[in-house]
Subunit: 525 residues, 2 copies
């Protein structure tokens, strides 16, 4: 594992934009070059240039031909000079509350806007706006001071909708090398954050390799490692074991922790009347502990201590939804909403300690019950960002749950969810392989982007319009190059097209609507 | 092509329900048998039966082991005795308006409800309700008297959401045999209707093979064949050529025609300012004719004649949306809505002639503009069923357009669209092969079913709940057998699971949330 890994995209160039407040900032993005439109006017060929399209880029240094990467050495430590200059406890939220715009804040403002200014597109996303959103808890920049390799990104309703990729080995499957490969692979296709959910052996070592080589924030569920330490016996867990695990992972550089602090002893029984009980691993483990000891969860009892630890490293907390529904039948029930109420209480306690936090959401929800989830989360959790798993809108399609969940994800993203946790075709059936990760990430980029369009995010339509124009112009290569997955688009095209022409095999030359449509111009009298 | 084709589903049996008004009716459905739930109570193994699940079945005689099919002979002529007893011009709509409940009407009522009565689930779908919906034009039963092989099905907001599959060869691709195979394949996976969009040679012969062997209604775009007759020169089309084509296809047994009668000479120019002009083949052809001749379209001018022909055979009209947007940019624009207004006028003229009709819709629409499409269609088209192509909610994912469109399809289905035209992964790139048809149909079954759940259709949750219970019970085979695509679910499961156990490789034994969740019961004190 020491190859100089490269990520490439067709007709694309890695470009950087500089800061205004911090002129040394270099915010990477991808610029896709397009070919000219060719028209015939008065019998003469006319070429009209098409402006390049800027694309939000999660591939980090891997797509920069001038940077030599080395998995053994790890990525360049981009953020180290910034955090070195800060005092202990100076979390991004604390600084934002004091009115300070950090490098991370200007970085994400530039990253979200890309070339909107150049195109004359108005945007609400200024460094000042970013600061205010972070200060108010409405947005989160997950950025452990010990993960300086990660490029800053922001999670919040008023920003581009983000997606998370889950990877990780279990006792049954896969190697460290495969997981690191999947991590880089996820970044290639557009994953904004990455959760390492490993539960097998070598949890620590796997995570180390991932962290040192991951250009996006990394999240974990620390309970998984704590649970390994007690050999899978929930009742043997203690606060001390959990605390030590947290510190170990903070030291390594994990950017956000999913912790199921919302499970209360008094609420566990609410899951018992359900069709599918509890489907959260972390949630079921801590529930078991509560029931065996008949005691309030140590995650809830020690929540302030957890926040103190997180604040030292500027780690964000993702309040895990241990009581999320595992079927459309159990959606929006008393168990789920009782936990949401607790989360609303906890998020304010996190903010009081200057710890950034977001709230995890379902799961499985039929379409007519999705809106209630979003509205209730905003109300109960005071505008903290929502981070949902799908939701799946039906349970009858194992093997296609990237699709059942993308429907719900797009909708809840439109309604205000800030980050969508991807689901792969293997959900409920097996662990995803590399191709599943690609399909899952691209599917979720679709859901997130559809939500950005519906929310009318500044500049969101640029890529759609450029691709549609390329399609109508018969500029096939531009159409592929602007696609979320250029390789697959080209591969499918090639199954039945031998040449690039002014029609395709779907319709043949005479039946091409676009061709006939173009010819209508000549009929205009 | 004379094999005895069989369609099989795991642990499933073909069963029939009889009519009340017409006791001889035999309405086929699929009954999935489940294994018992095993629990340990007081140290003893306890088995609890799980009721079989009835599934709406589009596979016709192919899944009945007692019927020998033969492609050369065609399927049994189920509806022939019913239509033979009627008078010319006795369309289903005419009969419904006279208060008569036909065999088709009782058939679809039984088919929609399946075993709801047995389960004590209330349903609004009675034969009387079906009759009233058909009479009012709010629902359509496409059933050409010359396609007696098709099993009756109903398209309307107050019924299960249906899906249509497009197949058909072009000048560049595929054989008759392949198309017939795709037709049966589509019925296997759940396609409710089938459009033969062939534009190549052998249009008539391909259609004949499909019609005689298709257990679901078949639609066409007659303009494609008319256009072949004038060698692809739009300006050479005439009403007479089109009329003769209509009659030819009526005689063969086509159940519904997409005709782009909504294109008016005065509106064609509205498409010229668009990003992607016109993307409907039928629409662009007739627009070209209008522009060259500077004359009102003969489809519009002869609409009453078209209705008279359709009424003779009880063929339904699908008012094609020639001005549908070809990109999210062009959604909900003046061109699209001008055509919708014309359709609203035409649908009333069709009803006056007792011709059933529905309205085609887009296409490409970002999420926040979907609702307006549905509401406006209901208003302008007087409650006639809406039949949409997707819509795709973003344009940036060629290769994944079954997904971009399933998002829009699920939403518009929930809002009231009666039938969804499928989109395959090859959309915009190439013609679909068999595997694309399967993926497209299953993806659209997901969208349609998600809409049924959101609309709270009687009995819609039965299959979801049964599958979820099987999942939570670790009854893996039941989970697969209840899935929309049992074969794919099993195939994915096998990639990393060697045995059927009380956990899977995703979590391993200790990390299985469902297992821990079950064990919580023992902690209850």
């Amino acid at each position: 594992m020491n190859d100089n890994i490269k990520i490439t995209y067709p007709s694309s160039e890695k470009v950087y934009m500089n800061g205004r407040i911090y002129p040394d900032l270099r915010v990477g993005m991808r610029r896709v070059s397009l070919t000219p439109t060719v028209t015939i006017e008065n019998g003469e060929k006319k070429m009209t240039e098409n402006a390049p399209v800027y694309v939000y880029d999660t591939s980090g240094p891997y797509s920069d031909p001038n940077i030599e990467t080395d998995l053994k050495r790890g990525l360049p430590k981009l953020r180290k000079p910034w955090t070195d200059a800060r005092k202990t406890g100076d979390t991004l939220m604390a600084l934002a509350k004091r009115g300070i715009i950090t490098q991370e804040m200007e970085y994400v403002a530039i990253r979200e806007n890309m070339n909107c200014a150049e195109l004359g597109i108005e945007t609400h996303i200024t460094p000042e706006f970013v600061r205010d959103e972070v200060a108010a808890g409405r947005a989160v920049i997950p950025a452990n001071i010990n993960h300086p390799e990660a490029e800053p990104m922001i999670i919040g309703t008023n920003f581009l909708v983000k997606i998370n990729t889950n990877i990780g080995n279990s006792h049954q499957n896969s190697s460290i090398e495969e997981e690191v490969e999947k991590a880089v692979w996820s970044c290639k296709w557009g994953g904004d954050t990455l959760m390492d959910l490993s539960t097998g052996t070598n949890i620590h070592e796997t995570r180390e390799w991932i962290l040192r080589n991951c250009p996006v924030p990394v999240g974990t569920v620390p309970m998984y490692q704590a649970f390994e330490k007690v050999n899978g016996k929930a009742e043997n867990l203690t606060w001390e074991i959990f605390r030590d695990t947290l510190i170990e992972q903070c030291e390594q550089g994990v950017d956000y922790f999913t912790i199921h602090c919302g499970i209360r002893l008094k609420n566990v029984h609410l899951s018992q009347g359900r069709l599918t009980g509890m489907v959260s691993r972390g949630g079921s483990i801590i529930s078991k502990w509560c029931m065996v000891h008949q005691e309030e969860s140590f995650l809830y009892a020690h929540f302030d201590d957890i926040c103190d630890i997180c604040a030292r490293y500027d780690v964000a907390i993702s309040l895990g939804d241990g009581l999320r529904p595992g079927s459309t039948h159990d959606a929006n029930d008393a168990a789920q909403f009782a936990e949401l109420d607790t989360m609303g209480e906890l998020v304010e306690r996190a903010w009081a300690k200057n710890v950034q936090a977001f709230i995890e959401g379902p799961g499985h929800v039929p379409m007519h019950k999705i809106r209630e989830n979003m509205d209730r989360q905003i109300e109960k959790c005071h505008g903290a960002p929502f981070y949902t798993l799908g939701p799946l809108v039906t349970d009858i399609a194992p093997g296609y749950d990237h699709i059942t969940s993308a429907i719900g994800a797009a909708m809840i993203g439109w309604y205000g969810t800030a980050m969508l946790c991807y689901v792969t075709p293997k959900e409920h059936l097996a662990l995803p392989d590399k191709d599943d990760v690609r399909t899952g990430v691209v599917t979720y980029k679709i859901a997130a982007h559809a939500a950005d369009l519906a929310k009318q995010h500044p500049g969101a339509t640029i890529r759609d319009n450029a691709l549609s124009k390329a399609r109508y112009d018969f500029r096939w290569k531009d159409q592929f190059n602007l696609a979320l997955d250029p390789e697959r688009a080209l591969e499918y095209y090639k199954t039945s097209n031998k040449t690039e022409g002014e029609f395709c095999t779907m319709c043949g030359p005479n039946f091409c609507a676009a061709r006939i449509s173009h010819s209508l111009k000549d009929c205009d009298r």
